[in-house]
């Protein structure tokens, strides 16, 4: 019964079961299962009033079983059931030509491209601003308050003006939408990186001082590596917000394509299921993007010798 032999019993269980318990698949499935269950319950609960109404207007007799069945198959439900959403997603992705405007992947791609462009520009801008703020006292004092103020401007209100102005100077297509993403996503990066660049311990800065290291050297050899945990955390938030920005940016450009356009169109024509499938696609995109940043984080941190 010593510590060394403690671990033995666990390793003697079948590898498959063990992998399932320790891996990600099982927990995700269970949590997913719970969420689906709650979702179904809400589907019935939220759609029931309308359904009962409909029965009464038609004057039909109904049982609880009817109610459950029918609430899950409404055409304009308050909350569509999971299988309705899945069926819609399946139909509009796999079940449609990939190049067709009716294919959800096509719209996801449109949104993704401006998300990524906006995210890249936003992260770069955020890091640059943070560098300026950390290194220049005048910038620290004067710019930061206005960066904050800029973020309190409701984007949907100024987006049309931005788009119009950019159009007027000959910029159209991907870039204006991406700039909306940039506008939203640079902020978490600025906040995180200002903190990150200032996170080196005093003695670490002192060490660089004894070497009379230049600002650039201190930056690359100390501030930057010390800020990386903050960078990745900020980037996770930024990429998610960037997606929101890309979708918002699709509206003032006429909402012709992209997930935002799908969301709006779904809402204008009362197609709840379509809204939810676009929502799902957007959320899935976000999860993937955040996951990718997380993988990058783990790879970089491992190379930087982080204690596992």
């Amino acid at each position: 019964m010593t510590a060394a032999t403690d671990t033995a019993p666990i390793s003697s269980t079948t590898p498959l079961l063990r992998r399932a318990v320790e891996g990600k698949a099982l927990p995700i499935l269970i949590v997913l299962g719970v969420i689906l269950l709650i979702w179904y319950a809400f589907t019935v609960y939220l759609n029931a009033p309308w359904q009962i109404d409909a029965y009464e207007r038609a004057g039909t007799e109904w049982t609880a079983a009817d109610l459950v069945r029918d609430t899950m198959a409404q055409e304009r439900p308050v909350l569509p059931s999971p299988h309705q959403v899945m069926a819609e997603i399946w139909k509009t992705t796999v079940g449609t030509r990939l190049t067709s405007k009716r294919n959800l992947f096509y719209h996801a791609w449109i949104t993704l491209s401006s998300t990524l462009l906006g995210f890249v520009i936003g992260t770069a801008l955020g890091v640059l601003l943070a560098v300026g703020i950390v290194h220049n006292r005048a910038m620290d004092k004067s710019v930061m308050p206005w960066v904050i103020a800029s973020q309190t401007i409701p984007i949907l209100a100024v987006a049309p003006m931005i788009i119009v102005v950019l159009n007027a100077i000959g910029l159209s297509g991907l870039l204006p939408k991406a700039l909306i993403s940039t506008y939203l996503s640079f902020f978490p990066v600025v906040v995180g990186m200002v903190k990150g660049f200032r996170s080196p311990e005093a003695f670490q800065l002192d060490l660089m001082r004894t070497y009379n290291a230049s600002g650039t050297q201190t930056f690359w050899k100390l501030r930057w590596p010390a800020a990386l945990p903050y960078l990745f955390t900020s980037m996770k938030v930024a990429v998610a917000i960037s997606l929101v920005g890309a979708i918002v940016g699709e509206l003032p450009t006429g909402a012709v394509s992209g997930l935002g356009a799908r969301l709006l169109a779904g809402s204008y024509y009362g197609q709840t299921v379509q809204i939810w499938s676009a929502l799902f696609m957007a959320a899935a995109l976000a999860a993937i993007l955040v996951g990718v940043v997380g993988i990058g984080q783990r790879m970089v941190m491992a190379r930087m010798g982080e204690k596992p």
């Binding site: 309308w50 409909a54 207007r57 055409e75 304009r76 308050v78 067709s100 405007k101 009716r102 294919n103 096509y106 719209h107 949907l156 987006a159 049309p160 003006m161 119009v164 102005v165 159009n167 007027a168 509206l251 003032p252 006429g254 909402a255 012709v256 394509s257 356009a261 799908r262 709006l264 169109a265 779904g266 809402s267 204008y268 024509y269 009362g270 197609q271 379509q274």
Partner: protein, 305 residues
């Protein structure tokens, strides 16, 4: 060919079928025009696009065009393909509303963006304050869909004859379950989809000529769409990049739109006058404070005939 950019007021749908048909059927080409159509949306103020130089001509409703004009954006109506208004108020019958006077104490959902003014005018005609009191009505700003009526969050909502009305029907409410009030019948109608350009550009005879050809070809598109509603709906569907529109709905919309079209593109001055009067009253805060001048011209539509 002359380049023309047209800014629509709303997303691609049969409401704008005439323009899409004209483009698709080559009517613009025949007039030596190269037309680009930009769809709008809830977030596009077409006036801003026009002023910002993003478009040469726009589709807009007269109330918002007049408001913009008074605020310093000199837009001018050059043609008015829609002679009639499609604006209605749809109520659930079970709320007990049978006539406009029954609005008292009820909740009305409306779009804003200028659409609230005819309603305000109507309410002040009825003598109903908008303060949410027992003797007045509660106004809610609703999104551009009919959910508030279906979810019973509002007793009545704004709806277009060609769109939202049918969504209510599609949702399962029958014609017997609802009551529809037409703005035209209530005498508070305002002029809807017209074509507008910036005033100073009309100084240029070449531009006037281009616009005349544009209006001409557009009306040709409208007439074709009126005669071939199914095909027109299909053309609209082809131009819908969202891939969200359905054939059934667009065909039906085309049929309703056809009822609103006038004989030609000339603005009816009586209808114009009524719109202006409506807007000048507008309850406590009128949309426009003084009689507009030079807000329309027949020059282009005359040339187009």
């Amino acid at each position: 060919a002359d380049d023309v950019t047209l800014q629509l007021k709303w997303v691609t749908q049969a409401q704008f079928a005439g323009y899409y048909v004209a483009k698709d059927k080559g009517f613009y080409e025949e007039e030596d025009l190269n037309v680009e159509i930009k769809p709008g949306g809830p977030d596009t103020a077409p006036v801003q696009v026009l002023v910002g130089g993003g478009a040469d001509v726009m589709v807009d409703w007269l109330p918002s065009a007049l408001a913009a004009r008074e605020k310093g954006a000199p837009v001018v109506n050059i043609a008015q393909p829609f002679a009639r208004s499609g604006l209605t108020m749809v109520c659930r019958k079970e709320t007990g509303i049978e006539k406009p006077e029954d609005f008292k104490g009820k909740t009305l959902g409306t779009w804003f963006f200028g659409n609230e003014y005819p309603l305000y005018n109507w309410l002040s005609k009825l003598g109903l304050p908008r303060d949410g009191s027992e003797n007045g009505v509660t106004i809610q700003k609703i999104g551009f869909n009919v959910d508030p009526l279906l979810q019973k969050q509002a007793d009545c909502i704004t709806a277009m004859t060609y769109n939202e009305y049918w969504q209510v029907i599609d949702a399962g409410l029958s014609e017997d379950d609802i009551v529809v009030f037409n703005y035209t019948d209530e005498g508070v109608a305002t002029l809807e989809d017209g074509l507008y350009v910036l005033e100073d550009r009309l100084q240029d005879p070449e531009f006037v000529d281009t616009m005349a050809r544009f209006v001409k070809a557009s009306m040709k598109g409208w007439m074709w769409a009126k005669d071939n509603p199914e095909d027109a709906a299909m053309i609209v569907l082809d131009n819908d990049a969202t891939g969200a529109q359905t054939e059934k709905h667009q065909t039906r919309m085309m049929g309703e739109i056809a009822k609103l079209l006038g004989e030609n593109a000339t603005l009816d001055e009586a209808a114009y006058k009524q719109t202006v009067d409506t807007l000048l009253q507008g309850g406590s805060d009128p949309v426009i404070t003084k009689e507009p001048e030079g807000a329309f011209t027949h020059e282009v539509s005359k040339k187009a005939m």
